[in-house]
């Protein structure tokens, strides 16, 4: 039986995210004391992917919509920033809304078609739309095609160049992560979120009380697309480079892995999962360039034996609490 794990551990559901965000907030201090620029950039990257994983968990964990083309939204957000910068527009107050709205529009159009299908058809059609975005990006010869596009500097805010400072960029990303997290939580707790969760449990019952979930799902899909687009805009600013590789279907797979590793349907699990995945990738790739040989079987074992991911594991640690079954 699948149940929606929103209510079982209310105290933990507040405690864990608080601890996570506090830990993130302390990173610049640690980086400053140990004079470690890499640490801060790396954690910024973790938080950017946490924003994206959060948006995926929002539809995957609460709406059971297995979107296998989520990387496309990230890529579209990143390309919006890159293409505007290529045209000389570096203003973040223009680039970020454009990135978010473009990704949202793409989600709305592809979602309207994809959501007419169910189950495995939905997985495949979102995968195909993701690949469509990927191949379109590779054929954009004016913007680097296969090779990608270098961005000469980060976005400005009202003309002021504050994001170039790694520490202020870090806190802006952290702020965005917290806002996205709270936003998703609020939506899920609202009536809209209840319909979404109910549709995950039983579409028939929902139809019986006179609610057609299509519109709700589409809206959720578009919201997730917009948040992922925001993540993409940050990613472009972080690496100061955009490339079609951001949209490769392996990326979409990795995003699902992040959500799964952290534990689906908890939101903070997605943040934890993004951190765990990127840490694993970083550490394993230092052992060998063929780190995927280790990671592939690890992933299979996680799927087979570790249901509930890291949050499930943490919940089981505390005696007397109901673990994920």
């Amino acid at each position: 039986m699948q149940h929606t794990p929103m209510s079982p551990a209310p105290r933990r559901a507040i405690l864990l995210p608080l601890v996570l965000f506090a830990a993130f907030a302390l990173v610049p201090l640690v980086a400053y004391l140990s004079d470690d620029r890499f640490l801060m950039l790396f954690v910024t990257r973790i938080m950017i992917f946490a924003i994206v994983a959060l948006s995926l968990d929002f539809i995957l964990g609460f709406g059971a919509l297995v979107s296998f083309g989520h990387a496309a939204f990230v890529g579209i957000g990143a390309y919006a920033v890159g293409i505007l910068a290529d045209g000389g527009q570096f203003e973040g107050l223009v680039a970020f809304p454009v990135a978010i709205l473009t990704a949202g529009a793409f989600a709305l159009i592809t979602g309207a078609i994809s959501l007419k299908t169910r189950g495995v058809y939905f997985i495949m059609i979102t995968l195909a739309f993701g690949q469509m975005a990927y191949f379109t990006a590779t054929s954009l010869s004016a913007y680097g095609g296969d090779d990608g596009l270098t961005i000469w500097g980060r976005s400005t805010v009202l003309g002021a160049d504050i994001l170039s400072d790694d520490r202020s960029f870090f806190y802006v990303v952290l702020g965005a992560l917290v806002v996205c997290y709270l936003l998703c939580r609020m939506i899920i707790a609202s009536r809209f979120g209840r319909v979404l969760r109910a549709a995950k449990q039983s579409e028939t019952r929902l139809a019986a009380i006179g609610i057609n979930p299509f519109g709700y799902r589409l809206a959720a899909y578009a919201i997730a697309g917009m948040i992922a687009g925001l993540g993409g805009a940050f990613l472009a600013n972080h690496t100061e480079f955009v490339s079609p590789a951001y949209m490769n279907w392996h990326r979409s797979g990795e995003l699902i892995v992040m959500v799964m590793l952290g534990g689906m349907g908890t939101l903070h699990g997605a943040i934890l999962g993004a951190a765990a995945y990127l840490l694993l990738e970083e550490n394993l790739s230092q052992i060998s360039e063929h780190w995927r040989v280790i990671f592939g079987p690890f992933l299979i074992l996680v799927v087979l034996y570790a249901r509930g991911g890291l949050t499930g594991f943490l919940n089981r640690l505390q005696p007397g609490r109901r673990g994920d079954d």
Partner: protein, 307 residues
């Protein structure tokens, strides 16, 4: 656009369609019977190509490499089924996607370790290395024609197997209602192993046939896998007939789109704009086609599942 170019590209499109069909056939049957989504089907195609290259190096004969490659692909498929996939049938699609994604990561990387990242080539057999004269001044390689013919023969055999044999009947019954077939006393797991092994062998066969044309490289199965997904979604999951038609349609639309999109766009837009828009449009074409089909027929052209 000239008639000769059109003829050549049509043949190329058919050839891509045939390769897609060989991959999609296994995918669609496996999904139809067992409700199992196997992302790792594309690595079977890659393994087929690499194994053939390895066996060619050992034996020096294309035909021996073809035969041994197919057997080895079958063994690899059954080994994967035994080690991993068998534990996933009762899980939901998300778990299946993730675990088979893990298999892809592992095998792609293992291939890189074993054979390196550089593309390897498989020489075509002497008897097929010539060219036909299709029209005046137009040569077309015999090997590509042979590939199309081989694919058509396999398709015909497969169609015969599925529609006129007992095991084919069970496969069709399994695709429309698996629990009922099991309730009638058929060992559905054993049936599935047969289907799975056969599908893996077909994908390996496609990889071997493709190796002399495209050479073997890591990740070569990934792009074709996505195309094969588009094929089975358009054709209707579980339907061999749908997979065959959809594969030919996708092969033709993709190949012809890539060669003529820019020219067609030039009729409407300025040449420089057309050079930007054309390739982008060409690469989107099959996905637009898929979206169109699914919009009007959400379960594909030839739906199999009851209800």
């Amino acid at each position: 656009m000239s008639a000769t170019l059109l003829a050549v590209q049509t043949l190329n499109g058919l050839q891509l369609g045939i390769l897609l069909f060989l991959i999609a056939a296994g995918l669609t049957l496996v999904f139809g019977v067992m409700d199992f989504i196997n992302l790792a089907h594309g690595v079977q195609y890659m393994l087929g190509a690499y194994l053939a290259v390895a066996f060619y190096a050992a034996t020096g004969s294309f035909w021996a490499a073809l035969l041994m490659g197919m057997v080895a692909a079958l063994v690899c498929g059954l080994a994967l089924e035994f080690l991993v996939f068998r534990h996933l049938y009762d899980r939901d699609h998300l778990d299946q996607v993730l675990a088979t994604f893990g298999v892809i990561l592992f095998i792609n990387e293992a291939v890189k370790i074993a054979w390196g990242s550089a593309p390897l080539s498989l020489p075509m057999p002497d008897i097929l290395s010539g060219s036909f004269v299709l029209m005046d001044g137009l040569l077309y390689p015999v090997y590509r024609i042979a590939l199309i013919v081989a694919g058509l023969v396999v398709a015909a055999v497969l169609y015969g197997l599925v529609t006129h044999t007992r095991i084919g009947m069970l496969v069709r019954a399994g695709a429309s209602n698996a629990p009922m077939v099991a309730a009638l006393g058929i060992n559905i797991r054993a049936l599935f192993m047969v289907v799975f092994g056969f599908g893996a062998m077909l994908a390996g066969f496609a990889g071997i046939l493709a190796a002399p044309l495209f050479s073997a490289e890591p990740g070569m199965g990934d792009n074709l896998l996505i195309l094969a997904f588009v094929v089975i979604v358009i054709g209707g999951i579980g339907s061999i007939r749908g997979a065959f038609l959809a594969a030919l349609i996708i092969g033709l639309v993709d190949t012809l789109g890539r060669s003529f999109a820019t020219d067609i766009v030039k009729l409407v837009l300025s040449p420089s704009a057309a050079n930007d828009v054309g390739p982008a449009l060409a690469s989107m074409l099959i996905y637009i086609l898929m979206a169109g089909v699914l919009f009007f027929r959400p379960s594909g052209l030839f739906p199999v599942k009851a209800g």
